[in-house]
């Protein structure tokens, strides 16, 4: 067998149900999927993880706390010695929830904060959401949960990151993950949120400068996979070695379907855990072929001919698929954007959908 890596990290969508209807939601979350896993099925799935050498599971959604089985599933994973975390919008976090998290071994949480109050509520489409989220974050920190703040970076907040840094610090977060908007799901048509070239570069420079000045102070800024690659803006500790999806990480949807990454479109589903177990899907010879066996010749569009192709692999596949529909060609590569003439960078709101007009598909030379 040629492929001998394992899904060390699993993103597990516990439910697609959500108590928010955020404008940028890549999953278009709201209602639960029609046939989501039962608790019994979920626990049986956990039993499959040890032999696949799974080291960490992250609960996502939807809003994962809306799956009433989360404490049982978390406790099961704790018993299997698998580290578990959760990504939440923070609305459901009461002191009792924090207590149950501690009891079930769920010791880390990522909470979504998308800006100061007005911006957050505008993106989350719910007045008062910010206040509830901040209260939730404070309860998590007070309860001893390792707190990460996750910000979906959009055109509405990219200019407010300095201001947000102080907020994140005041919450007691250990990490601040900055995730550029994926133009997919509900975010695809909401052009007001889309990032232009200059916005991407502004984000990259913010990350670099803040990290350089912060030293070992918290929060540590964690650039998402779609912030890169192979440029002077890369952080040494987060060097890009290619997308891990389908190689050492995998996404499990709440109805048991399996993708390399939960941010990928549904046509990338590689299997169904109601029909096959995860081992069978993971080691099927043809599975995740685009990710496991490719060469520099497989790079597309803006990545075609790039001399970093074999090192980078075309960037974040979620961003590549969301913006181009193809693998191996994330057009929002800093290295590439920095070579685009400033006049083109300055195109107001050169959004994802306008990329071809703006010249983003031009090969790097």
């Amino acid at each position: 067998m040629d492929f001998d890596s394992f899904p060390h990290l699993i993103g597990w969508e516990l439910t697609l149900a959500c108590n928010l209807r955020c404008r940028h939601c890549a999953s278009s979350a709201g209602a639960a999927r029609s046939r989501e896993f039962t608790l019994q099925e979920s626990l049986a799935l956990c039993e499959q993880f040890p032999e696949l050498l799974v080291c960490e599971v992250i609960f996502t959604g939807g809003e994962p706390f809306l799956n009433p089985g989360w404490p049982v599933i978390a406790a099961k994973l704790r018993d299997l010695k698998i580290k578990t975390g959760i990504v939440t919008n923070g609305l459901s976090i009461t002191d009792e929830v924090v207590q149950r998290m501690c009891e079930s071994g769920l010791k880390s949480a990522g909470i979504s904060v998308d800006g100061p109050e007005q911006v957050h509520d505008r993106i989350r489409c719910l007045p008062g959401a910010y206040h509830k989220t901040i209260c939730g974050a404070e309860r998590l920190a007070k309860g001893g949960i390792d707190l990460t703040v996750i910000t979906s970076v959009t055109s509405l907040n990219v200019g407010l990151l300095d201001q947000m840094f102080e907020l994140v610090r005041s919450l007691g977060a250990w990490k601040w993950q900055l995730q550029p908007l994926f133009p997919t799901g509900r975010g695809i048509d909401d052009r007001e949120l889309h990032l232009g070239y200059q916005d991407f570069l502004q984000l990259g420079r913010f990350i670099q400068e803040r990290t350089a000045h912060a030293g070992k102070k918290f929060p540590r800024i964690v650039p998402a996979d779609s912030c890169g690659y192979c440029s002077e803006l890369d952080l040494p500790e987060f060097g890009w070695n290619g997308c891990t999806a389908g190689r050492s990480s995998v996404g499990i949807m709440s109805d048991g379907r399996v993708k390399g990454c939960l941010s990928w479109p549904d046509w990338t589903v590689e299997g169904d855990l109601r029909k096959e177990d995860l081992w069978t899907i993971w080691f099927r010879p043809s599975v995740f072929a685009h990710l496991r066996t490719f060469s520099a010749d497989d790079m597309r569009r803006s990545c075609s001919g790039c001399d970093k192709a074999s090192e980078c692999g075309g960037g974040c596949e979620a961003m590549s698929l969301a913006t181009t529909g193809e693998w191996h060609c994330d057009p929002y590569c800093y290295r590439r954007l920095m070579e685009i003439p400033r006049a083109e960078q300055a195109i107001a709101r050169a959004s994802y959908a306008d990329r071809a007009v703006a010249g983003c598909d031009r090969p790097l030379n």
Partner: protein, 109 residues
């Protein structure tokens, strides 16, 4: 009790470019367990690798003690472990061998 145990949490992981890749799993020998490295032992006994450990032990013992060749699908894996045992090294299990053994175990279900 198993004589040869797989401590799956002590992974040696190769971080060469492209992706994290398991290179070896360390198999602690019996003496080390007798000396009190019981945390891993508990994990295994309470965990889900019992059948796997039994499989390895059965074929490894048969090969080392009686010269019985393992089934073709796992012969390479078992002989690699046996080589380590005979040479007095801490036995290690290559990721590919681990996959072959697990696949064999699963096919026997």
């Amino acid at each position: 009790m198993n004589k040869y145990l797989i401590e799956r949490y002590k992974l040696a992981i190769d971080t060469t470019p492209w992706w994290w890749r398991v290179a070896y799993l360390i198999i602690p020998d019996w003496d080390r367990f007798d000396k009190g490295l019981l945390e891993g032992f508990d994990r295994i006994q309470k965990g889900h690798d019992k059948a796997f450990n039994n499989l390895v032990e059965t074929h490894l013992s048969a090969y080392l003690e009686k010269g019985t060749m393992p089934p073709m699908a796992i012969s390479g894996a078992i002989m690699n472990i046996a080589e380590d045992v005979v040479a007095g090294r801490v036995p290690t299990l290559r990721a590919g061998d681990y996959i072959a053994l697990q696949t064999f175990k699963r096919s026997a279900k």
